[in-house]
């Protein structure tokens, strides 16, 4: 009898996890935060290997929806060690002073089924700007897995990234495309 109630209890918990509780945690794979800048007009891609994401989405009360992403800027990987080191110095991210970048949502709006628009604040190098990013949310049939795909273009000068000798947009493009692709499972 005891074990039966335990099973029932855990079944109820699972049910609530899949149903009403609308928070999600990232899965190890796929989990990517990549960017494409440009150097001398040629694409210059890279990624951040380490970041955390918290997401609550699909709650009956949309005010409870939220997305927060914290990026470890020291985990930048461009495939070239010298370049990674240069990106960490104060002309770019200045990771000694600002090791983290973060995005915190203010609101998440459902645009059409599976398509959302998240408005929030992005902080990089101590500078906070309001940005709006569209994303798609693809839920598996059983609702136990979902995938978030977002893409936006940031202006590096807004955050003081690429200063000094790097400022000239002829050599370092101003727009940086950022692509976020991540799988989630319901958070316990």
């Amino acid at each position: 009898m005891k074990s039966l109630s335990l099973i029932l209890c855990s079944a109820a918990l699972l049910w609530s996890a899949a149903g009403s509780a609308a928070c999600w945690k990232p899965q190890p794979s796929p989990k990517s935060l990549t960017f494409t800048a440009s150097q001398g007009g040629a694409p210059f891609p890279g990624e951040f290997k380490s970041y955390t994401a918290e997401l609550c989405l699909g709650d009956k009360d949309p005010a409870k929806d939220k997305l927060q992403v914290d990026v470890d800027l020291t985990s930048v990987d461009t495939g070239m060690d010298e370049m990674d080191a240069a990106l960490k110095n104060d002309d770019f991210f200045d990771t000694a002073k600002y090791p983290k970048g973060s995005f915190v949502s203010d609101s998440v709006k459902l645009v059409s089924p599976g398509h959302y628009l998240v408005a929030g604040k992005l902080t990089l190098k101590g500078i906070t700007k309001a940005i709006t990013v569209p994303f798609t949310w693809t839920l598996s049939k059983d609702g136990k897995q979902a995938r978030l795909d977002a893409k936006t273009t940031l202006q590096r000068r807004d955050y003081g990234i690429g200063k000094g000798q790097w400022d000239d947009p002829q050599y370092v493009g101003l727009g940086v495309d950022v692509v976020f692709a991540i799988a989630f499972v319901p958070a316990p």
Binding site: Q39, G40, G41, A42, P43, F44, P45, G46, T78, G79, M80, D81, E82, M83, A85, A86, Q165, W166, D168, Q170, Y171
Partner: protein, 176 residues
């Protein structure tokens, strides 16, 4: 045509040595970006010109080697020319691979991007960079040998091999 291409390639390769040696150990920065973009663009240009030169040579074969050269000298002449052409084609390719393996796309004089031959790969980048360096020193050695041989033909053999590669204005009147 063969002469013009020869001297144009000489000029560009000279640039490559100067810019390459100076630029490769610069710290990451705009100066290095500019110089290496130039180095890569010139390298790709050399690659294309050498292909053109070889096509030209295929349709209009070079004059025969002068008579009186010993078999070993003939072999040396042929081998060094094959090696020169080979290195002039392989060096740009190694540079191109090094860029791509370092996650950089090669852009020709800020005008258009070349396709990537490979994806980012740190080990490959290290390997191709070392081979590019090694190849460049081999090329320099071969160029020295080539110049030495040209003078040897002119001043020891007097067989006109050097003269036929010189532009007209450089030849003494009676040589025209």
């Amino acid at each position: 045509m063969a002469q013009s291409l020869h001297w144009l390639i000489v000029l560009l390769v000279l640039c490559q040595f100067v810019v390459g040696i100076y630029g490769k150990d610069l710290p990451v920065g705009i100066e290095r970006l500019k110089l290496l973009t130039f180095h890569k663009s010139v390298g790709i240009t050399v690659f294309a010109l050498v292909i053109l030169r070889l096509l030209w040579r295929f349709y209009t074969p070079a004059p025969k080697l002068p008579p009186g050269m010993k078999p070993l000298e003939r072999f040396g002449a042929h081998f060094s020319h094959v090696a020169l052409y080979g290195l002039l084609l392989v060096l740009p390719l190694l540079g191109w691979l090094t860029s791509n393996a370092s996650n950089l796309t090669v852009r020709w004089f800020y005008l258009f991007n070349l396709p990537n031959l490979t994806g980012p790969d740190r080990d490959l980048a290290k390997l191709t960079r070392n081979l590019h360096d090694l190849g460049a020193w081999c090329l320099l050695a071969l160029v020295c040998l080539h110049v030495f041989a040209a003078f040897w033909h002119e001043f020891a053999r007097h067989d006109g091999v050097l003269r036929r590669m010189l532009p007209l204005w450089m030849l003494p009147q009676e040589g025209r």
